[in-house]
Amino acid sequence: MKNKHKRGELSTQQIVLMIILIASFLVILFFLFRLGIGEKSEEQLCHNSVLQKASIFSEAPLQCYRNYICITKDGSCEELIKPEKIKVKSLDEVYEALANEMTDCWWMFGEGKVDYAGEDLTKNNYCSICSQIYFDDSLENLEGVENKKISKDELYDYLAENNYSKEQTYSQYLFGTSDISGLKTSILEYENNLENIGNFGNIEIGKQYFNVMGITSSVGWVEWSGVGAGLGATIIGAVWAISGPPGWIAGSLILGGGAIIGGTAGTGAGELIEPEIGAIIIEGKSGNQFMAPTLQEAESDKFKALNCEEILTYT
């Protein structure tokens, strides 16, 4: 039978095989897209560009894009166009989603081990908005939510009490410690904290928040505070009880402090900022100081008080 065929001639069997192969390929592609592998590759692409920038100090911009996320109970998300929807049934699931966003952000930007800001830059704070999160109105029906507010203190407690991996909790991964209450006491007792600010504030349902982290170029948070103070941010150095090794907390940013801030471009008249611990500063292993991922209302005065010189992530 074989002899009857010309060389290179395709048999029916081969054609069928080829069709099956193409069909299988399409099925695999379909499942890859359904699994959201693309999102993971975007995170990987960002992480690689951060590592590349640090290793050869290339001038190429980081390949990091802002993620648009909607946390919802009923699946509706009016404020964002085609966001990634995270459906939740309890407050714990909200905290879990936020914890994962914060740790993803910390991982993408090198976990405090990578200097992607470089030496040549002047006194600047380079921020990365990893995700823009909309807290849908339907969340106000969740048990534990009062006055349309979600407590960030409870979020930080969640970070301290729940495991990120087998070896460490979310807060150990992000801040090097799980002792959040000790950190709050330390900040509260710090002599420059005149207004006794010892809480992380609230998230208001129905608003959009940035999940933002930062790196200082060649300056530490003391100089950072000098810049931030001009915008109404009171930034204190709540030094950890025992000065820890790199990877540990170096201080914290207290935003607000009762300061009346003047009208800046794009904002209205000056307004009172309710003070809160805005972010935790980490002494990075790279020698830089990092602002650990924090949630601040999008384009709010508190966000502006972080004084981000440049946003390294694309919209």
Partner: protein, 169 residues
């Protein structure tokens, strides 16, 4: 027997041809995407310069405006391949994602033309392929200024009662 062989050959040639056409279509699609992607990238970079990054950017001018003051700005063309880039304002409820729910100005390709029902389509276009800046105190009025291809467009930015207004001169 001969007939069958001829038939087999025809089927084989057809299959080869179909595969060749599929490959060529993919190749053309890839090249066209690459070319227009590059054009869009350049347009977005120019938009970013106009809105945010240059010394005389719209953002810098808005930030420097004092109450009752007005400044003029010349905007250069954005794209030169049939695209029709405009400066839009978004002050209604629906806005591109990067506006974070606040009033904003965006530069993007005009996809609605004169069709008023295409507003949602326009928001989607600006969301996907546009550059936006948030101007919380942007006056609640429609801005739709074409950035013309052959000559520069002059706009006026003013601040009255702490509201920012953008008009074509």
């Amino acid at each position: 027997m001969l007939k069958t062989k001829r038939g087999m050959l025809l089927a084989e040639e057809t299959l080869k041809m179909v595969i060749a056409i599929i490959v060529i279509v993919f190749l053309v699609y890839f090249l066209v995407n690459l070319y227009f992607g590059k054009l869009k990238d350049d347009s977005l970079k120019k938009s970013e310069q106009l809105l945010i990054k240059s010394d005389q950017s719209i953002k810098n001018i808005i930030e420097s405006l004092k109450e009752g003051e007005s400044k003029n700005l010349v905007l250069q063309e954005i794209s030169s391949f049939g695209d029709n880039w405009h400066l839009f304002s978004f002050t209604e409820q629906e806005k591109p994602n990067s506006c974070a729910g606040k009033n904003c100005l965006c530069i993007c390709d005009d996809v609605i033309g004169e069709d008023p029902l295409g507003f949602v389509k326009q928001i989607n276009e600006c969301n996907k392929n546009g550059v936006c800046i948030i101007v919380s105190n942007l006056k609640n009025e429609k801005v739709n200024i074409e950035l013309q291809e052959d000559f520069a467009t002059e706009i006026s930015i003013s601040k009255q009662n702490n509201e920012i207004s953008v008009t074509k001169k």
